[in-house]
């Protein structure tokens, strides 16, 4: 505590000084011992190289870091604007754990940062880790999925979700380095690197130069596993494999939108199992459906690297049983369709991609493959569309996605029952501004839909049914259903009804580039106009800054406790696998 106050006091004092340089990794960074990272100093002005002084714990930095940094006389911004001088040292590693105070000065500029280079235990606590993440998972999603899937009688749930029996162990603070708010790139990057970063950034600190691929890198968990273990790595997502969450295991870019580059970064690390969507970025630009701007054929490159390819549910099942170690499963050019459309309504793009697997199929296949490695594995499973359906305020689809996620959690728990040396983590990466406030009851009198919203005692219980016992409601358009409300959003029409024709599109852009309520829903009987409360360039609901609940069970789970910064989760994962101990 005293240390923290001192650190805060020194940070405040320095912030007050004129022309403070910026040092990456930032102050209070936590760094896995032995992990490579880039060290960068950004001076606010152009300085002379001979004036630059860098010490580490009072010694000249070269003696401690073992390398000399490159001096950049002038970094350029947009339109060649001179931003100042810089020092860059790439691929630095610190072999000895401990506290490191880095002091930098040049001319009138000075900055001091403290890093905690942490060790891990010597012997791994767990053989396997299954890290299950529902993108955007908020408390309302859990509650809603439970009520929708299991039902409720006299105030008690009629059943439990698979995730309900995994102890909630920590509240996770998701804020980013430049904002209290956050996105799926820097949040998952914090989990998967142990370093917080800026919105849209993956595996890097966000520097000031416009280029997105030159920012100071930090090591990702997949890279750390390759460096220190012989474990297998699996990435499973219902989104494009290049999307922020799956990409965070391997990628280094300031811009999550660098999806074409991210495919190359995936190939660099070669995770053993890759299952998801996003084939458009694997195809050369001459192939209709490609989203690349070059001719690279990554399907061929992955095959050459020893991957079997599966492109639908049938091929996935066949591949899971084969002896080929590496598996690339691409089931859609973009994101996979959501469960409600894929399995029930057959809307979205299901007609075009009729045989997509779901998260449960993919999780099972990945576990089949990865568990063959006697050294164990790290598997990341993402239910991407809990978030992708929460943005457009399509709560029915978001809840059905959460139910599917829970079934993947059940698969993981079954695996852990048989393999107790498995750590399971269940969490979200950030939250959404959503709550369940009651029900909508079509049987209530009148035509006004708003009058049919039941709150407090009038809410009663929804009448979803699950006659076939598959865990999903037989229909979502029942007469008394859950009413979820967002606390933010663009102008839109609230229809009080599930969107049976395809995912909700609340707002569309007009000629002034402002998002206005989508008129398509205006004439739905009883629809009411909802005035937006975010800037008009916002197309959908936004992420909340609220903490995320993290649940964990298995060896190593005792490391999660109380309030934790999202980046601190990495340290627990690293400890479970003893990643601080280099491979012989």
């Amino acid at each position: 505590m005293r240390k923290l106050i001192l650190a805060l006091a020194s940070a405040t004092m320095l912030a007050g000084a004129a022309n403070a340089a910026t040092v990456y990794p930032l102050d209070r960074a936590t760094i896995l011992v032995g992990s490579p990272f880039d060290f960068k100093v950004e001076f606010d002005t152009v300085v002379k190289p001979e004036d630059v002084k860098v010490t580490v714990n009072g010694q000249d930095y070269e003696a401690v870091f073992g390398k000399k940094a490159e001096f950049v006389a002038e970094e350029k911004g947009d339109e060649d604007k001179v931003l100042g001088s810089a020092l860059i040292l790439r691929g630095l590693t610190i072999a000895a754990a401990g506290a490191y105070k880095v002091e930098v000065s040049a001319g009138s500029e000075a900055k001091s940062v403290n890093w905690d280079v942490y060790p891990t235990v010597a012997e791994p606590k767990a053989k396997n880790i299954i890290f299950l993440i529902a993108d955007g998972l908020s408390v309302a999603h859990r509650t809603g999925a439970r009520i929708m899937s299991k039902g409720m009688t006299e105030g008690k749930a009629n059943g439990r979700l698979a995730m309900d029996d995994i102890p909630p162990v920590a509240f996770i603070g998701t804020s980013s380095t430049h904002s209290i708010a956050t996105d799926s790139a820097n949040t998952m990057s914090a989990y998967m690197t142990g370093h917080k970063s800026r919105v849209n950034a993956l595996g890097v600190y966000a520097d000031r130069t416009p280029a997105s691929l030159d920012d100071p890198k930090v090591e990702t968990i997949a890279e750390a596993l390759r460096r220190t273990t012989k474990k297998s790595i699996g990435i499973v997502s219902t989104s494009e494999l290049q999307d922020a969450t799956p990409a965070a295991l391997v990628a280094h870019t300031r811009k999550r939108a660098d999806k074409a580059d991210i495919v190359g970064m995936i190939l660099d690390v070669k995770p053993d199992v890759l299952l998801g969507g996003g084939s458009a970025y694997f195809l050369g630009k001459d192939v209709p459906g490609s989203k690349r701007k070059d001719d690279k054929d990554y399907i061929a490159e992955f095959k050459n690297a020893g991957y079997a390819l599966a492109i639908d549910k049938t091929e996935l099942a066949a591949a899971a049983g084969s002896n080929q170690d590496k598996l690339l499963g691409l089931f859609h050019t973009g994101n996979l369709d959501v469960t409600l459309d894929r399995e029930f309504l057959k809307k979205g793009t299901v007609e075009k991609f009729p045989n997509q697997p779901g998260l449960v199929d993919m999780t099972k296949a990945a576990l089949d493959k990865l568990s063959k490695n006697p050294d164990g594995f790290f598997l990341m499973v993402e239910a991407a569309s809990v978030d992708k359906m929460s943005h457009p305020l399509d709560w029915d689809r978001a809840l059905v996605e959460t139910i599917e996620f829970d079934k993947a959690v059940a698969v993981a728990r079954e695996f852990a029952d048989k393999n107790p040396d498995t750590l399971i983590v269940v969490t979200g990466d950030h939250t959404h501004g959503v709550g369940i406030i009651g029900t909508i009851d079509d049987e209530k009198p009148g035509d006004e839909m708003r009058a049919k919203v039941g709150t407090y005692d009038d809410a009663g219980f929804p009448n979803y049914e699950d006659a076939n016992g598959d865990g999903y409601p037989d229909r979502i358009d029942v007469s008394r259903r859950l009413f979820l409300a967002a606390n933010n959003g663009p102008d839109h029409y609230e229809t009080f009804r599930p969107k049976l024709d395809g995912p909700f599109v609340p707002a569309v852009q007009n000629e002034a580039k402002e998002y206005v309520a989508n008129e398509e829903y205006k004439d739905v009987p009883g629809a009411v106009f909802v005035q937006g409360n975010i800037p008009k360039d916002g197309d959908t609901g936004v992420h909340a800054v609220d903490d995320v609940v993290l649940q964990a069970v298995g060896p190593g789970s005792e490391g999660f406790r109380g309030y934790m910064e999202q980046s601190d989760v990495y340290r627990v994962l690293a400890d479970a696998f003893a990643l601080g101990v280099a491979k012989d």
Binding site: K255, A257, K259, S279, A280, L283, K285, D286, V287, P288, G289, S290, K291, R292, K293, I299, I311, D312, L330, F331, H332, T333, G334, T349, K352, F353, P392, V505, P506, A507, V508, Q509, N510, E511, K513, Y515, V516, N518, E519, E520, D539, T540
Partner: protein, 154 residues
């Protein structure tokens, strides 16, 4: 808006027809453009790529009309826009051109036209072209285009 663009549309079409006449004396009649629907663009969809329909292949190089929705332009000065089957809530150009659906058509206008209300359906007319093309000004890669095009509110 509607009246202006209709007038413009007609004038462009006339100019186009006049221009075409001396060069292509056997050219198709300018007004008999065949209609193409968004449901008719592809013969097959697949993870490893899409295949254009026989109709697209047959109509390539010919003037066609197609109904759809105009997505917000990349830049105010861009000489093309993207036509989509349904109104797009995303502005993919705002972050990247990554988030477009597969079934889009890039429309290169013969002359600048005023951006229409996004929710309103439009009808575009122009010469159909398929195959990969990288826009030299923006780097935007398209597979299916209308050249020398104009549009009208449908």
């Amino acid at each position: 808006m509607t009246d202006d663009s209709r007038m413009f549309f007609d004038r462009r079409r006339m100019l186009c027809a006049l221009a075409a006449l001396p060069i292509l004396p056997l050219a198709r009649p300018a007004l008999a453009a065949e209609t193409l629907g968004f449901g008719e663009l592809y013969k097959s969809f697949g993870v490893l790529g899409l295949e254009f329909s026989d109709k697209v292949k047959r109509l390539t190089g010919q003037e066609i009309t197609i109904k759809g929705f105009m997505a917000p332009p990349l830049k105010a000065e861009a000489n093309f826009f993207v036509l989509t089957e349904i109104p797009m809530s995303l502005c993919p150009f705002c972050s990247s051109d990554a988030d477009w659906p597969d079934n889009i058509l890039v429309v290169y206008l013969a002359r600048k036209q005023t951006f229409v209300q996004f929710n309103a359906p439009i009808e575009a007319q122009g010469i159909l072209e398929y195959g990969s093309w990288t826009d030299p000004d923006t780097g935007f890669v398209s597979q299916l285009r209308l050249r020398e095009a104009a549009f009208d509110t449908a």
